[in-house]
């Protein structure tokens, strides 16, 4: 079968302009497809980030915006398989001038004595940890954030509340290393409660983070926690942190569906482009197919050659497209990253192989009909063709 390859290649490139245009349009489509696949993989199929394997998040069953009683924490901690449980409250607020994008970073209220047990991937010197536990108004920042803001230990950080009507006045007491390179500021939930004063507001929190003792306990705990509060006024939904994180992408709508629709549309485009090229290219060569048949080529050999030709064109377009896609993902990695998956976006070997295989299949599939017809045309009919 390999002996047909040279003729296949020659045929693929005989109409230079048409082949080039086809290869370019397949490349453009495949570039898009590759980026989409990479995005899909990054969002839905990525392995858990460091520290995520054993971490669960419990929130209100109805919506993330509905709060849970802070008293749940003690009850969760009693469940077997829980290593630690802690309040995890988004503070939001404004730092300095909100119009400056540079001043945007995540701020959470947590429990200083539990933070490093619930998030063991974070590293900070022990004396800074103790300082954080001691100073009520203390705050800790990730090294990425501290570096970008030029903060040193002792830095005074003033936040203006928006969700909460309070203005925390914080002192930076620690800088921790985060392998996920997030830009985060943590301060004490107890300080927030104190600022809020007596009242129901302080007794309610957004979510709890739970560190399980082992992987086996993770699914069991998710179920146990939700069952425990099933019939209360504030039922919970508990899931892995990885699954929970995807909720923040859902402000883009049903991203999974969007990605699939785009991929389907792109695939269909390649199919049409390739089908059109192959139909034209076969049409022009009916007579040559008759000649080959006269020389003893079987319908099977003819079929193989035409399908192969389409496959070659699709693969060339695909390879070029993936090259473009790697460039594009590299550019996206540099750009503003509001979604974690963007920061590691790349054409991984599996994404590349999948895209190429898809391109090949589309190429071959799109030429099935012309190839089949050509293979079946009788010799004399084919030879009479003046094309």
């Amino acid at each position: 079968m390999f002996r047909y390859v040279p003729l296949m290649l020659k045929n693929a490139l005989r109409n230079r302009r048409r082949s080039t245009l086809t290869i370019l349009s397949i490349a453009a489509s495949l570039c898009l497809l590759g980026v989409m696949f990479a995005l899909y993989r990054g969002l839905f199929l990525a392995p858990p980030k460091p520290g995520q394997e054993l971490r669960l998040v419990a929130r209100h069953k109805v919506s993330m915006t509905q709060p849970l009683p802070v008293s749940y924490e003690a009850r969760i901690r009693q469940l077997p398989g829980v290593r630690e449980a802690m309040v995890w409250q988004w503070f939001g607020g404004v730092y300095k001038d909100a119009r400056d994008r540079r001043n945007f970073f995540a701020r959470f209220c947590i429990e200083p004595d539990k933070l490093f047990r619930v998030r063991p991937e974070l590293e900070m010197p022990d004396e800074q940890k103790r300082a954080f536990e001691r100073l009520r108004t203390g705050a800790v920042a990730s090294s990425d954030l501290a570096e970008r803001m030029g903060w040193k230990i002792g830095e005074r950080i003033f936040l203006t509340g928006d969700i909460y009507p309070v203005n925390p006045e914080l002192t930076l007491v620690g800088i921790f290393k985060d392998p996920n390179t997030n830009e985060t500021l943590f301060f004490s939930y107890f300080y927030l409660r104190e600022l809020l004063g007596a009242g129901p507001r302080g007794d309610m929190v957004g979510t709890f983070q739970i560190q399980a003792e082992n992987a086996e306990a993770v699914p069991r705990l998710a179920k146990a926690i939700d069952t425990m509060f099933e019939n209360s006024t504030a039922p919970t939904k508990t899931e892995t942190e990885q699954a929970f994180a995807l909720q923040f992408v859902s402000f883009l709508g049903n991203i999974k569906l969007y990605l699939m629709i785009i991929c389907a549309a792109v695939t269909f485009t390649i199919l049409l482009v390739s089908a059109n090229t192959m139909a034209m290219s076969v049409r022009e060569r009916v007579r040559e197919i008759g000649i080959l048949k006269t020389l003893g080529y079987t319908p099977g050999a003819i079929l193989f050659m035409i399908l192969g030709e389409a496959g070659v064109i699709a693969l060339m377009g695909g390879a070029l497209g993936l090259l473009l896609a790697s460039g594009m993902t590299a550019a996206l990695r540099q750009g503003p990253t509001f979604v974690g998956a963007m920061r590691t976006l790349s054409i991984t070997p599996d994404v590349g192989a999948l895209s190429l295989a898809l391109a090949f299949l589309i190429g071959v599939g799109s030429s099935l009909i012309p190839a089949w017809n050509a293979a079946r045309t009788s010799i004399l009919e084919a030879l009479r063709d003046s094309g």
Binding site: L7, K10, I291, A301
Partner: protein, 238 residues
């Protein structure tokens, strides 16, 4: 007694398309022996090409028997026929029918790709065939870089490269000037005499037919008995 290469009995081919009904060949009985050079003549539309196509198994008869090289063509499958044609038949067309994107040697190599030969052997065979037709210095030329006569010689090289027993040529000189035509006919004559190839040549041209050892005439789909010519047949003076 020499071997029979072609034997047809009451061979008939009808074309039926919608209300059209053409009897292209009617009850033809033809016998060609090994080593013969037979010319088939007749006016346009008399069924010459049709008969040649049936012998090459490029088409199937409506009726009658056809035995070529001992093979009953009516009983072979399409796949078997393709392989059989590759091994035993060399076909030369009026319009050369080379593949334009392939060089002379690549065109000649085409039928060998269906054999078990290695690339190197295929190239050697193809080069030998091209040398035989006098194109040893044109191996890498594309068809459009060759004259009509040279193109037809490449086509003949392609027809003989598999060392077939039977060469079928349908008006091979029809598109050529007198000089080139003469060369092609001389070449066919050589293939017949020196290499013992059995040749069936379809031609309009009485001059061309002189290269043959025997001439059979067709008229309106009927193969006339040996020695008989159509009523209005005249041989132009040379």
């Amino acid at each position: 007694m020499t071997e029979t290469v072609i034997q047809t009995r009451d061979l008939t081919k009808e074309f039926i398309r919608d209300e059209f009904h053409v009897v292209a060949l009617k009850d033809a009985n033809l016998e060609v022996r090994k080593g013969e050079f037979v010319a088939l003549m007749g006016p346009s539309g008399s069924g010459k090409s049709t008969l040649l196509h049936l012998i090459a198994a490029m088409d199937r008869p409506t009726d009658g028997e056809i035995l070529v090289l001992g093979e009953n063509l009516r009983s072979l499958s399409d796949r078997a026929i393709a392989r059989w044609r590759n091994e035993h038949i060399g076909f030369v067309f009026q319009s050369f029918n080379l593949i334009p994107v392939l060089t002379a040697i690549e065109n000649v190599e085409l039928p060998l790709k269906l054999t078990a030969l290695k690339k190197k052997e295929r190239m050697e065979h193809a080069a030998t065939a091209l040398k035989l037709v006098g194109l040893g210095d044109r191996l890498g030329h594309l068809p459009r870089q060759l004259s009509g006569g040279q193109e037809q010689r490449v086509a003949i090289a392609r027809a003989i490269v598999t060392d077939p027993d039977l060469i079928l040529a349908d008006e091979p000189t029809g598109n050529l000037d007198a000089q080139s035509a003469q060369e092609i006919l001389t070449l066919l004559g050589r293939l017949n005499k020196e290499f013992g190839k059995t040749i069936l040549l379809v031609t309009h041209d009485p001059h061309a037919a002189r290269f043959a050892s025997r001439i059979r005439h067709l008229e309106k789909g009927e193969l006339l008995p040996e020695g008989q010519v159509p009523a209005d047949y005249t041989v132009a003076p040379m």
